[in-house]
Amino acid sequence: MSEQICVTGMGIVSALGENKYETETRLLKEKSGIGKLYYLNSIHKEIPVGMVKVPDDKLKEKVGIAPNSIIARTTLLGIMAAREAIIQAKLLGASYKKIGFISGTTVGGMEKSEIHYLDFLHNNRKNEYISIHDCGACTEDIAKHLGTFEFCTTISTACSSAANAIILGANMLKAGLLDAVIVGGSECLTKFHLNGFNTLMILDPKPCKPFDANRGGITLGEGAAYLVLEKESNIKNRKVKPLCILSGYGNACDAYHQTASSPDGKGAYLSMLKALEMSKLKPSDIGYINAHGTGTQNNDLSEGVAIQTLFDQVPYISSTKSYTGHTTSAAGAVETVISILAMSHNFIPANLNFEHKMEELSFEPVKHVITDYKFDHFMKNSFGFGGNNSSLIFSKHNPQ
């Protein structure tokens, strides 16, 4: 058996709070983070979103960055979440030579570009914002505020970006190329994608209700989350306890449509199957599925069909996007952290706002938080535009 990939630290910032503790508290109290659009100057004030309830200047203060620095909100959220992960993993005290940083984002610095774009085009003003526009520039800026890295790259597969960052990090550890790797994603709300999803008419005018027969679409969110991954042999000499292990992962392409999922959920089925095969687990071993569950008619049907094809008995399932909103490129990591908290502390997060079972599906999601429920393995689905589908399986750690 190949060596286990351990999670030794994690950090999260989302509409649910600024750290793991706030996140878990709200999950257990069934308090959604979805609310009003605070810090984005859009005309669509009526659309609910899951915002991090801290403006840029306060974020800068919290992460110790000068008030006048030119920095994207995506970057600020990323620094905050990655720091929490690094501290938990005691990475700063580790004598590691080769640490990697792999981050997922798609909007990058767009939230600043969309403010200054006319200046970019017509004036010689605000030029300092041009070079922070790119996805890679955000990752570099986050990295710069965290420490020294041997390897640093950015994945941009829309809503599965963070999940794919986790996969690359795990592969690099397996090949022995790094001592530890920080993986995840960061994404702030922008007018660009708020309007983009709005033109597709897939934003729910009310807080999203994933897997509900009357679901009305996505609620967008923002946030960042990162995991620290290390090989088990590496942490034996450090006083760090694995939180869990990454036991399997799969990436497959739906190859169906740029923004829609196939009716039979082929890509979703394949990514889940690949993850199961790698983990050498049976579907019945999975105690919880944290679904991609965006709340659109299309995704929830496609994902649901794929899940019931693969699982004879569908395990407890919920979409925690009903708490955080869809944090797009960060979602894979945000929802993984939520699920690890759940597995570690024996609860199943609720799928808020669910009322009516979908006719097409044999199962319904968990309506209310279930406590005192122990499970050893969970699956996290993350599906993106273009059918970029990825599934991850995490398991409780059993020392080898």
């Binding site: 790259t153 309007n195 990436n251 394949l270 273009g386």
Partner: protein, 349 residues
Amino acid sequence: MVYINGLGSVSIQESIIPEYPEWETTNYLRCHEPNFAQYISPVLSRRMSRIIKRSIVASQICLQDAGCEMPEAIISGTGLGCIEETEKFLLSMIEQKELFLQPTHFIQSTHNTISSQIAMFLKCYSYNNTYSHLGTSFESALFDAFLQISIQQINNALVGGYDEMTPAYKNMLSKIGYIKSTPFTLDDIKNAETSGSVMGEGSNCVFLSNEKTENSYAEIIDVQLFHAPKSYSDTSNHIYEFLAKNKIGISDIDAVMMGLNGDLKNDQVYYEVYNENIIKTIPFMYKHLCGEYYTSAAYGLIMLAQLIKNNRFSNKFFKKYHPSNPLKKVLFHNHFQNNTHSLILLGKC
């Protein structure tokens, strides 16, 4: 063992084997558009943006060259993604004050549109990923493919670097010093001593496989990226370690293909690192053939693969020197702002 078995390119050049026209004096060159109809039906083509069409053509040429119908992975690098579509949606959003927007441009704006459109075109359900990390976007994709083949998760992969350079983005980049303020010929960047480069664009693919074929161009012995070196000697150490890991020394390297682009600061890194003490080989370069853009390294790798296989290129390919002996081992070294570096070690098959 990993081999390059196929190449595909849409670039500012008319042909995949570069020609050496007298370049017009400019600081911005756009792609020579291929005959799209030869590869994509008009029905499909109408719905595709320019970069998607170019990238599908490049991937088709590459897969045909490799004799592969269905790759086991499609891994892409793009610095700017579908910037033309992004600009269109962004501008209409701003000008129309968020009202009456059409979704078409948004749908095609995400960076992964290219990789997923290639998958849709092929009906390829396998691993699909997109890297967008400035000047090492393509090498990140190549690294992922090489890694997965090495740990036997996949047997082959279509790896591409795709970027378009719109006039608006080019103007933005010139404001922040990426582009030469005075027009240059591309050929002139060989000996440039000013800041900025000449902008280009392109869609370039390689097909990697663990199987050697008659068509194999070169072997990829190793791929490595490193980050934020503290000094030139730190960079040299990374190179030494990389070569040592592959059980060779600097004297075994017949040539180094460098990402020289005519920008004084960019080029200085190579001159400092590869000074006489380290390596006697005179640099090869490629960016004067394709222009500079975030994924121009993909073009460089294609050139190098052809060079290793055929060993026939005109003098214009090199900074000063034309190899007389077959190239057995070549190092490809590119960096972006001396912050992210990529090393690719290639060998003759």
